[in-house]
Amino acid sequence: MPAELILNVALSGVLTGLVYGLMALGLSVIFGVVRVVNFAHGELMTLAMYGAVAAFQRFGLDPLLSVPALAVGFFGLGYLLQVTLVQRFVTRPEHAQFLLLLSVAVILANAQLMLFGPDARNASVDYALDSLELGPLLLDLPRLYAGGVALCASLSMFAFFRFSRSGKAIRACADNYRGAQVVGLPIRRLYALTFGLGCACVAVAGGVLTLLVDVTPALGPAYTLLGFVIVIVGGLGSMLGALLGGLLVGVSEALAGLFFTPSAKSMVSFGLLILVLLLRPQGLLGRRA
């Protein structure tokens, strides 16, 4: 097998992995702060994808341009979800949290089925088949854009949590809940902010992913599982870990599709997940609880 082919496939895996990483970043941030596993993550993802596709089909708006509006809308959705439902379940046992978000997932997935029908949809932009040639490398233009936007969004999340006052306050809540209470941080509001930001991540990831894949309402669970694989591999709650995990899963899936049969590619990710859970349950970059 020529090295150029492998390199090209790996590179496209890196770009897809950046989008996966951004999606997983949302999941990881929510778990890291609110300590709730968002089992409706994949359904939120497909909802964002439908939003981008609808904007393209109705108004001819490029998904890259509808991403900001989607991010704002999903931030509001996440904020509301946390305030109205998830907040009551923060102290409830895990299976109750699971059931809550599962119900949300069922409602979201089937509302999408009602609104958009079961057929696969996509945003067929006019540069869908264009590519960029750099010496031996051949990059799909849509994939390059998607990866680039995802990287920018991830970096702005990092910047927010590193430098802004709210970001620091949120990290304080995650690090030391009692301490955050003592110094009078508005924990409920910060939790809602976090859930909103997590949903905004998923909105951007879903928006740009419409450049690469078709969306159907049944895709949700697969993306939820993909998100789990990535955040566990990277370290549940670790932001850099989510990005790294996304790259790892993106590349390994792309290469597995090349070397084995494409249908077996997610077996590689689940195998990876099992290994990481057993040998390093805190993930590659996570801290021990």
Binding site: E94, L273, L278
Partner: protein
């Protein structure tokens, strides 16, 4: 037992026994589904409700059981009476592997739950690539004539499957009731409530948690064998799918985690709810796909928000208030 209670129980038993004669074909199939879900739910509840180990991948044990007995019948014509032992053995071997690894490496809580999903998904995709078991195209068990009871091969009319499901549901209920009052039951609850404390009291938590997983997987495998011979077709996409695991755990979670009657009440309520919504929408002439599941999801949301401990404990408490008020 008071005579009144004994009378009510006898009446209920009689009703369950003559049900296939009175109810139509559809009602019998619905009842069979409820009883199957109650059995599988009871098995899940043993692991989560008793021992506190959250499994989100129970379709794995059901599926291994279904495929083992199904493959024996499909390839060698060996009926379920022998097949069920093989199914239980295979399922327990997988459970030993998963539980052993997970508990040895200290995987717990959310991480354990995600590990169970990972193993189930891994198996689902792996089974898609095993041609001996039909691969993604599925494995079809030969359907014999449906009018006569052929117990040796577990082939017969729907009423036979109803009675089998009834026997399984009551059998697992009895077993779980026994286990709940046994030494294992108390150890499991101690582990569920506070594992370090249980360990400090000298309970070998590794051994007892593993036992819970093993018993649960064995019971799940038995319900899987039933499923294989009742449905007669097995597809990895369906048998091992996450949605099957969710279907199994919804009954006990909605009915009441850790209670004996919760899985039965939960699967009864959920199945009737799902069926009732279908009927209602059909009566209204509303055919948009997805509507039923949205309403179902809203109902689930309602239960989980307003009845935090499940339906059965709430019913039980209401009943006690009622009888307490009367006797006072």
């Amino acid at each position: 037992m008071s005579p009144k209670r004994a009378g009510a129980l006898a009446l209920a038993a009689l009703g369950l026994l003559v049900f296939p004669e009175l109810g139509g074909a559809y009602a019998v199939s619905l009842a069979t589904l409820i009883l199957y879900l109650a059995t599988a739910g009871q098995a899940w509840n043993l692991m989560m409700g008793f021992a506190g180990q959250l499994s989100l991948g129970h379709s794995l044990y059901v599926g291994i059981g279904a495929y083992s007995a199904g493959a024996l019948f499909f390839h060698f014509g060996i009926g379920p009476w022998l097949g069920v032992w093989v199914a239980v053995a295979c399922s327990m071997a997988v459970a030993l592997l998963i539980g052993g690894l997970a508990f040895r490496f200290g995987v717990s809580g959310v991480y354990f739950a995600l590990l169970t999903i990972a193993f189930a998904e891994f198996t689902r995709i792996a089974f898609d690539h095993i041609d001996w078991l039909g691969g993604p195209g599925g494995m079809f068990l030969e359907v014999a004539q449906r009018d006569r009871w052929d117990l040796a091969h577990f082939r017969g009319p729907p009423s036979m499957y109803y009675y089998a499901a009834l026997a399984l549901a009551l059998g697992t209920l009895w077993l779980c009731a026994r286990l709940s009052r046994s030494r294992a039951g108390y150890y499991w609850r101690a582990i569920r409530e506070d594992e370090p404390a249980a360990q400090a009291l000298g309970i070998d938590t590794f051994r007892w948690k593993l036992l819970a997983v093993l018993v649960s997987s064995a019971l799940s495998a038995i319900s899987g064998v039933f499923l294989a011979f009742y449905q007669n077709n097995l597809f990895p996409e369906q048998v091992f799918h996450v949605s099957r695991s969710i279907e199994i755990l919804l009954g006990p979670v909605i009915g009441g985690v850790g209670t004996l009657l919760g899985p039965i009440v939960g699967s009864l309520v959920l199945t009737l709810l799902s069926d009732g919504v279908s009927e209602l929408l059909a009566a209204l002439g509303w055919e948009l796909p997805g509507t039923k599941q949205v309403l179902y999801g809203l109902a689930l949301l309602g239960v989980v928000v307003f009845l935090p401990n499940g339906i059965w404990p709430a019913l039980h408490a209401a009943w006690q208030r009622h009888s307490g008020a009367r006797s006072a």
